[in-house]
Symmetry: C2
Subunit: 222 residues, 2 copies
């Protein structure tokens, strides 16, 4: 049953011995700063320990593995979404506001896009986020199940859209140039046709596509 207590269930302090010199929040903050500055790969146990003025082994008094440290970082990032700008009554506008805040948070911490979001036990901030999202959906007339599904879809959608947004700025990863090269091989006629669209859509600002896609998906789902 209780197979192995995660970071959130474990007691923060032993019943004996000296008081811990560090705490999870400070450790997570140090790691988060490192990731913001130099990416997720810069978050090594040694680097985090050095930022805290200690050795790598000390961190293992607070965290069982590096993955747990990343869990802490992710939950700390989720904590930056406060979600006050949620208008009551209009659930779509509320969820869109929440999605926008998520987007801003992800743009601030792009390393979060790298961490594969395998469904782990929710941290406290992630749980608060879920609670707020459910609160926004209270005015919607749907299944509880559908509400959970909508929130899950929303999160995956936000990550995907921000990924596309940042990748476009970084390099021409899957940009039109690369696609054109793939279409030019003769095979893939539909791709070629799509790229030769005589009526291309007008250009958009960065946030416009985000709002449009999120709104359409949510209205269809709920």
């Amino acid at each position: 049953m209780e197979q192995s207590p995660g970071v959130w269930e474990r007691p923060r302090r032993g019943r004996r011995g000296p008081a811990p010199e560090h705490d999870l929040d400070r450790i997570a903050a140090a790691a988060l700063a490192l990731a913001d500055a130099d990416g997720l790969a810069a978050v090594t146990m040694r680097a985090v320990a050095a930022a805290l003025g200690t050795g790598p082994a000390s961190l293992y008094r607070y965290v069982r593995t590096r993955d747990e440290l990343v869990e802490l970082m992710a939950d700390a990032a989720y904590g930056e979404i406060d979600g006050e700008a949620a208008p009551a009554g209009d659930w779509l506008a509320g969820l869109l506001a929440l999605a926008r805040e998520s987007r801003r948070m992800l743009l601030r911490h792009p390393w979060l896009l790298e961490v594969a979001e395998t469904p782990r036990p929710l941290g406290p901030n992630a749980a608060d986020y879920l609670d707020r999202a459910l609160g926004v959906l209270e005015s919607a007339e749907t299944d509880t199940r559908t509400k959970f599904e909508a929130i899950g879809v929303l999160n995956a959608l936000v990550v995907m859209l921000v990924r596309a947004e940042t990748a476009g700025a970084d390099r021409d990863a899957a940009g039109p140039a690369a696609l054109a090269r793939l279409a030019a091989e003769g095979r893939r006629p539909h791709l070629a046709a799509a790229l030769a669209d005589p009526a291309p859509a007008p250009p958009e600002g960065p946030g416009e596509a985000f709002d449009r896609v999120v709104s359409r998906v949510l209205t269809g789902l709920v």
Copy 2:
């Protein structure tokens, strides 16, 4: 411009010297078999090399980094989606069929859920997949831009749904039990209310929720 040729652009063979003893397809297949058997972490350069009967250094004649090897693996997995079961005329049914095939592929290669899908240049199989999806959408009356967006949303959605599906079977990660514990703290009233829903939805088979969510999202988006 041509900053650094990826695996797909690079020539498969030098103009001089002996013929390569291995090739990308065999290397990818060996790595894929390892990942299927023991997870993505088991795909080390040494293990893949050993499976091919050689040393780790040899692989670097074919692949610049381990990440490139994973790219190869991912594209090989995409190649398993042939997409013949796509009825013409009905784009929704066609995309749903494609999504179902993607789901089956992901269930066969769960390690693909761990690789963070940062938008890289598409491999040949991924490009074929994109072409087929565009072909299915030909009968839909929408923007070309919307079609691309729908395909992107569809992919992210499939990954998310399969993640939820497999995590549920593995452990109770974010299962009802963990949620109930979080709701019991007194804060998070909406979460508590949602869990105490007097009219819970009837249980579903594994593929039913998938079909339902995918269909609703797509109808809303396109």
